[in-house]
Structure formats: C-alpha cells, structure tokens
C-alpha cells in the first residue's frame, strides 16, 4: 500500500527521484573505487611477499627463479603505481584478475562462493527480523515483567559470540540430540544451525534498537489519540508503533548485512560451510591481493544495493524525507 502511495508522487517529484537515483549510482561507483583503492594499498602495507602466496603460501622455500617467474607472470615486478593503474584498468573492463592462492579467476571464485553466503546472510537477516519483532511486540503488549524478560533475552543474545554460540548449538543439536548435521557443506539441512547462529545476536541488536523507538512511539500523542479512538493495543503497535520503530532498525539493515558477512567468516569456518567469509579470511591470510580486492568489491556492491534499498524504504516509511529532497 505504501509503495502504491509512493508511486503516486507528482511528476516533479518523480524527476527528483531519478536525480536521486543517479546520485546514488555515482556514489556507488565512488564507493567501489575507494574500496578497491584502499584494499590495494592496505594489502601492500602488510608485511609479507605476495609472490610467495603464488608459491605454496608464506614460508615457502621458493627459489629465486621461481619467485622471479611468479613476479613476472603476475606483474609484481612493476612499480606500485603501475600495478595499481593496471589493476584499476582491468576492473574497468570487468576483469577481476586471477587469485594468487587459488589459481582461479577471481570472478569464478566469487561466482562459486557468493550465492551460498548471500543465502546464509539473507535467511539470517530474515530470521533476525522475525525474532526481533516477535519479542518486541510481545513484550510491548504484555507489561513490565515481559518487557524486562524481553530485554534480558536481547541483552544475552547480543553478548553471545558467534564462535561460542555455534559450538554450543553443535553440541546440543548434533552431538546430544543428533537432529542436525554439524558440518554444513552445501546441504539445506546444514543451513539451519549457521542461520540460527548468525540470527540470534543480530536479533538481539535489532530488538534493542526497536524496543527503544517502539516505546517512544507508543507513548507519543498520536498513538495515544489512536487508543482514545478505540483502536486495540495490538492494532496501535502494528499500525503506528512498528512503523516508527522500524525506521532506525531499517537504517541498520545495511550495517546488519555487513555484520552478517563478518559473522559469516566465523560461522562458515565453524560449520565448514563454503562461502565468501571463509574465502575472505584465507585470502587475507595468504595476502592474495586480487581475491581480497575482488571480494571486497562484491561485498561493497551488495552493501550499497542494500543501503540504497533501505533508503528507498526510509523515504517510503517517512514521507518527510521525500519533501526534504525538494526543499
């Protein structure tokens, strides 16, 4: 319904929308360029020779000839700015290069690993929202004790480190109960524990943020007037409270996506699940510059898309933002 309302804006406003979108696109390209540049130089600051990543990892007893051949092959013997320009040039042609450590085109590594992580992160985000809303609504309705219990749950959830939660879930559901496989692989049943592991702390965080604004919204004059008009408590929560409460939490979705990718590094390691998080960790450890940069670019792109989406949602949920753009 709100989306329909948003599409019914005047032609003038539509024009602003397009301009806004073009601005976003420019911003997106900037973010991608800056991320690639930052990563490129940050990785060069790290001690360790990238040529070694090519020859069986750090500490390899690679011979002079082997190192020279590797440097030659990957252009590592050229000056830094040449390498940088060459890499940016290749990115313009959508060529992400070849991973040092995997000896595979970065694009195919990402194509292989990204869908799994995306699925994991999306499901976890969805579950986190469901959990957060459920607890927030339930405790907003059910009075002080429920409220205290709800926020206690959230506080505990937030304080659970992924690696520890994952191990405990494996201990409970795999070792003791035998319900779910401890290693995830690419199977659907293996997805359950990783998703829960990622969702619980995030739900705690979203819940905390939402509760605050939900309580604010519910004590606001318009909610009170809705109540005096005879709307039910649940109705007020859903129609007025949540819409307001969701705002800061929606604003956090881009951030949430980032933490999910971070969490994926740990969760994919614990559950032996293939994915971008694990790729990223091993790529950083192997000083695999093309792979780290490629992965960062993909995550940056995904993040930017999520933020753009949340901004659009923001504009829909809070009409004042739309008029502001015209002011």
């Amino acid at each position: 319904m709100t989306i329909v309302a948003a599409s019914r804006v005047s032609p003038r406003r539509g024009g602003t929308g397009v301009r806004w979108l073009i601005g976003r696109l420019g911003g997106l390209l900037f973010v991608l360029w800056a991320a690639a540049t930052l990563t490129f130089f940050a990785l060069r600051l790290i001690p360790g020779d990238p040529a070694e990543a090519l020859l069986g990892g750090p500490g390899s007893q690679a011979s002079d000839e082997a190192l020279a051949a590797a440097r030659e092959e990957y252009g590592l013997n050229q000056p830094l700015w040449m390498q940088y320009l060459a890499q940016m040039g290749r990115y313009l042609l959508l060529d992400f290069g070849t991973s040092y450590s995997l000896r595979e085109p970065v694009s195919s590594v990402i194509a292989e690993q990204f869908p799994g992580t995306l699925l994991l992160a999306s499901l976890a985000l969805a579950l986190a929202w469901v959990l957060a809303i459920t607890v927030a609504v339930w405790s907003a309705r059910s009075g002080r004790i429920a409220g205290a219990l709800g926020s206690a749950l959230e506080v505990v959830a937030v304080a659970l480190p992924h690696f520890w939660l994952a191990t405990s879930l494996v201990l409970l559901f795999s070792t003791t109960l035998g319900w779910l496989p401890p290693i995830s692989g690419r199977s659907p049943s293996g997805l359950v524990l990783p998703v829960i592991t990622l969702a619980i702390p995030l739900a705690g965080f979203l819940g905390q943020v939402m509760r605050e604004s939900l309580l604010n919204a519910l004590s606001s004059p318009f909610a009170q007037s809705a109540r005096t008009r005879g709307e039910t408590a649940t109705g007020v929560i859903w129609r007025h409270g949540l819409r307001h409460a969701a705002l800061p939490a929606i604003g956090l979705s881009g951030w949430a996506f980032g933490t999910l990718v971070s969490g994926a590094v740990v969760v994919e390691t614990v559950f032996a699940r293939p994915g971008l998080g694990r790729t990223l960790l091993s790529a950083v450890q192997a000083r695999d510059i093309p792979l780290v940069t490629g992965t960062v670019l993909v995550v940056a792109l995904a993040y930017s898309l999520v933020t753009t989406l949340t901004d659009v949602l923001d504009r829909i949920a809070d009409p004042r933002l739309r008029t502001e753009a015209n002011a």
Partner: protein, 267 residues
C-alpha cells in the same frame, strides 16, 4: 524523586563489583591471575577454586576479577572510538551543508563497504596483533554503524516539528544542535553505547578466535572464552563464567543506561 527499584539497583551493584574488580582486583581476589599449576588443570568448581581452573590450572575466579580491567577497557575504549567517530561523522552528515553530508556519507559508506571484521583483519595484519590494535580495530569496525545510525536520527529529529519551530524562531546552528538535536540523538545513542561495551568485548573475542586478539595468557574475558571453547564439551566452567561476566557487564550497562534515561526523561 522516587526510590530506586530492584531493576535500577541491581545493575549498579553489578557494575560496582566490576569497577572495584578493575580498579583494585586484589581486594576481591588476591591471587596471581597468571599463576599456573599444570597438575591442577581442568578442575571443576570447588571450595578451593569457586569457579574451577583452566587448562593450565589457573584459578578462573581470580582471572575473571583481574580480567575486568582489560576487558572493560577494551569494551569502553573501542566503543568510545566507534561512537566518537560515528558521532562526528553522523552529526556532520546530518546537520552540515549538503556537500559535507555527501562527503561524510560517502566516507562512511566506503568504511561500511568493508565488512567490520575485514576492516579489523586488515588493520591487525598491518599493525600487528595485540590489545591496542584489536581495540582500535574493533572501534574502526563498529564506527560506520554508529555513524549511520546517528545520521539517520539527526535527520529524523531535524525534520521534526520542534526543530523546524526553532528554525523559524531564528535559533542558531549550535543552539539547535545542543538544545534539540543532541538530546534526542543521545536517547538512542545511549542504548547503543551501553550495548556497545558488551559488543566490543564480544568482537574482540571473535578476533581471538581467529587468532588475532589479545595474547592468550592475559586474563581478558574474550580471550578466556575463546581458549575455553576448545574444551566446551568436557569442561563447561571454562567458558560459562567468562561468558557470564561479559553478559552481566553488558546487561548491567544497558539497564543502567535505560533507567538513567527514563529518569532524565521524567524529570
């Protein structure tokens, strides 16, 4: 003023305990947190060791008490770095002229584009592991989140009726910031900060899991949690108590933040 309730007193008591632990650990647990006793390793909680011993026979109670200072310091400093950066970027973005907003938003987005852990990984890879670097790394990793939230709050408050009214009344920028925007932003930020302390400790422990955090023998809650994790199936007390310390301190700061907030609001 109404009398403080249990919900308000409990966090104060818990925090007081941890603060005393941090300032004068020897008052509570006079032992050496690093003293090993390999032959008394993996002992379950008992009269001699109320919270048991770890893999090197160190007393877990002593380590938790002595660990309060480094743990809370990591939590507080990392949060301070994160919130500080976030506040500056967020307010500049939310209140400043358009170009400044665009620049700071872009900057935050670039930082954001790096998953927090990657930012931390890269920073640690460059600067080397250790308590200081992991504190800064956690602060850096969390800053974009705070910045974005602050900006969105600032925008929301700025467009609210009373700020517009202040604008009509001709109040200056600083006055609007101090009188109207900051107090409203702080409401949300307060919850975030109180949450952030626990979060930062948890983040730092994840770095330890990946082998990049605080050096292991140091009595730090996250590091203790991580080293106990290997043995979680057999020796639960090694993870349970450090985990409890993290949860308790995080919960206490959050609840304290809440009750302070509602007192401020009602007065």
């Amino acid at each position: 003023m109404k009398r403080p309730s249990v919900v308000e007193t409990a966090p104060v008591v818990v925090l007081a305990f941890f603060v005393v632990s941090a300032v004068a650990p020897n008052l509570i647990a006079p032992g050496d947190p690093l003293a090993i006793d390999p032959l008394a390793s993996f002992q379950a909680p008992s009269a001699g060791h109320p919270l048991g011993t770890d893999e090197s026979g160190r007393d877990i109670l002593t380590r938790i008490v002595h660990g309060a200072a480094p743990s809370l310091l990591i939590g507080v400093l990392a949060t301070a770095i994160g919130v500080g950066l976030g506040l500056v970027l967020g307010i500049v973005g939310g209140l400043g002229p358009r170009w400044l907003d665009t620049t700071s938003t872009r900057f935050v987005e670039v930082l954001f584009a790096f998953p927090g852990l990657l930012l931390a990984l890269l920073f640690i890879a460059i600067a080397g592991p250790g308590p200081v670097t992991s504190t800064i790394a956690v602060g850096l990793a969390t800053a974009p989140g705070y910045a974005r939230l602050v900006r969105s709050q600032v925008l929301s408050v700025r467009r609210s009726g009373y700020v517009e009214a202040a604008l009509v009344l001709g109040h200056g920028w600083w006055r609007r910031l101090l009188r109207h925007i900051l107090p409203n932003v702080t409401a949300t930020l307060f919850v975030l900060v109180t949450l952030g302390v626990g979060q930062s400790i948890v983040w730092a422990s994840s770095l330890s899991y990946l082998g990049l955090g605080v050096s292991p023998p140091a009595a730090e809650w996250g590091a203790m949690l991580n080293s106990g994790r290997t043995y979680v199936a057999s020796f639960w007390w090694m993870t349970f108590f450090p985990g409890l310390a993290i949860v308790l301190s995080a919960a206490a700061t959050t609840l304290l933040g809440r009750s302070l907030q509602s007192r401020v609001r009602s007065s």
